[in-house]
């Protein structure tokens, strides 16, 4: 059986697990939605759509939506379920089977991709009544979903490395907080060029900025291939690195 087929089988198991613990998905939806409402409530009057060029005629909710999508992507549960498998002994059961080590780490990430697609669709649909529309059309919709879900997979992959290294739920949970500032060292409230100079420099060095700008361009404008391309490039490079480190960690796992 090929590695992708093995990963698919394990991905199905992870999805079944997710459907049986629906409560674990509530924060993934609720918290990003909460931030969307609060941020829009705080700043919408400061940035009226008819007098704010960077909104391209849309509401401030449209500008904020990508932040919420990225926040949702950082709530992936793959790493915590992996720690459960390690602590409960099921991970050793999987390691004792003759399947590819890559498939073991890719299985959960496959499920994260499916969950990411679903959550992104739900969040975008919820945002529509707030005056948001996806300016880039059907292809833009697809690109938006793929980019947000892919980042969710990459984020989960980095968390899985922590889970494999520490084998502890507490340490993995704490580790995810290290990534949190990355979400906020971005042009979260205004475009990069309107940030203070130090923040602009910090945001320019932060890879998450380019994913956020890619997502934002898809919501606010026709497809800007240069901006969207940078977002996908960041996801691709980070994804390759994360999967490489995952595979190396599981191969050296004793």
């Amino acid at each position: 059986m090929s590695m992708p087929a093995q990963a698919w089988i394990l991905g199905n198991r992870a999805l079944r697990e997710a459907t049986r613990t629906p409560d674990s998905s509530i924060p993934t939806l609720f918290i990003p939605l909460f931030f969307l409402i609060v941020n829009v409530g705080q700043a919408a009057d400061v940035f009226p759509s008819d007098a704010t060029p960077f909104l391209f005629g849309q509401s401030y909710a449209a500008f904020q939506l990508p932040s919420s999508l990225l926040l949702a992507a950082s709530f992936g549960s793959a790493a915590l379920y992996l720690v459960e498998d390690i602590e409960g002994g099921y991970f050793d059961k999987l390691r004792a089977t003759p399947i590819s080590r890559t498939a073991i780490v890719m299985g959960r990430l496959t499920a994260e991709a499916a969950k990411g697609v679903l959550i992104t669709i739900i969040l975008v649909l919820i945002s529509l009544p707030f005056g948001v529309h996806i300016e880039s059309g059907l292809l833009g919709w697809v690109l938006l979903i793929v980019l947000a879900a892919s980042w969710g997979v990459v984020f989960s992959a980095f968390m899985q490395i922590l889970a494999l290294k520490t084998r502890s739920a507490a340490a993995t949970n704490s580790g995810s907080l290290i990534f949190f500032p990355l979400l906020f060292l971005t042009p979260n409230f205004v475009p990069r060029e309107l940030l203070t100079r130090p923040m602009e420099i910090a945001a320019s060095f932060n890879p998450v900025t380019y994913i956020m700008e890619g997502l934002r361009s898809l919501v606010l404008q026709d497809i800007q291939w240069g901006t969207v391309g940078k977002g996908f490039a960041v996801v691709a490079v980070a994804g390759v690195l994360a999967v490489f480190l995952n595979v190396r960690t599981i191969r050296n796992y004793d």
Partner: protein
Amino acid sequence: MTLAIEAHQLVKRYSGRGGSDVEAVRGVDLEVAEGEVFGFLGPNGAGKSTTVRMLTTLMSITSGTARVAGVDVAAEPDRARKQIGVALQEAGLDPRQTGRELLILQCRLFGQSKGAAVARSSELLALVDLEDAADRRVKTYSGGMKRRLDLASALVHEPSVLFLDEPTTGLDPASRLSVWEEMRRINGRGTTVFLTTQYLEEADQLCNRLAIIDEGRIVREGTPAELKAELRRRKKLKRNPTLDEVFLDATGRSRERAAGEVQEVSA
């Protein structure tokens, strides 16, 4: 004699804190014949589980060689995994799946088609008497049921060698008896069983031969009868010693010291 397990000078060394090395297994030699039930006894921390983890490809080998079913476990781990069934100390089960789902998944991971996996899982559920609970989630199972399911999941691919690491620890006498029956039945079909246990009565009942490991080294090896006879001769005893006396003699432990490490049970 065809060997199912063959280990030569097996060593596992960990890097301890402060740069000092800890040797958990210190040059273990083992030869287990095909079709045997081989008992591997030792106090807590003696190196039993570490040895099992090395033999089952779950842990790297610092030095030495190990072959299971003729396959070098370090050089060809995937080939070895196809020959090995493993049920470790903690029943490694996913509590959110049903027993049937878990077995089907395990069959699929050993390369079986969906249809074959469904058929094999039904066969195994019947074998371990879990048909009635097959579609319940594993988290609702009792300890004994979990052990039996774990055993079944180790058998999906009809392994030639089955490693059972303390399979009855924590079970009530009835569940323990049922695991013993399964073990005998599996061995009766020709599967070699490598059993680690802290229960000396269990080893006496089930094992053709056994080895006692202490502080990472094998200190006794033979059939239960041979080990008892050797102790009787050496100590000039008037009666046949029990296996726990053999164990205490081999590990240099007093009854008091061993009380917390080894338990004698009857089931």
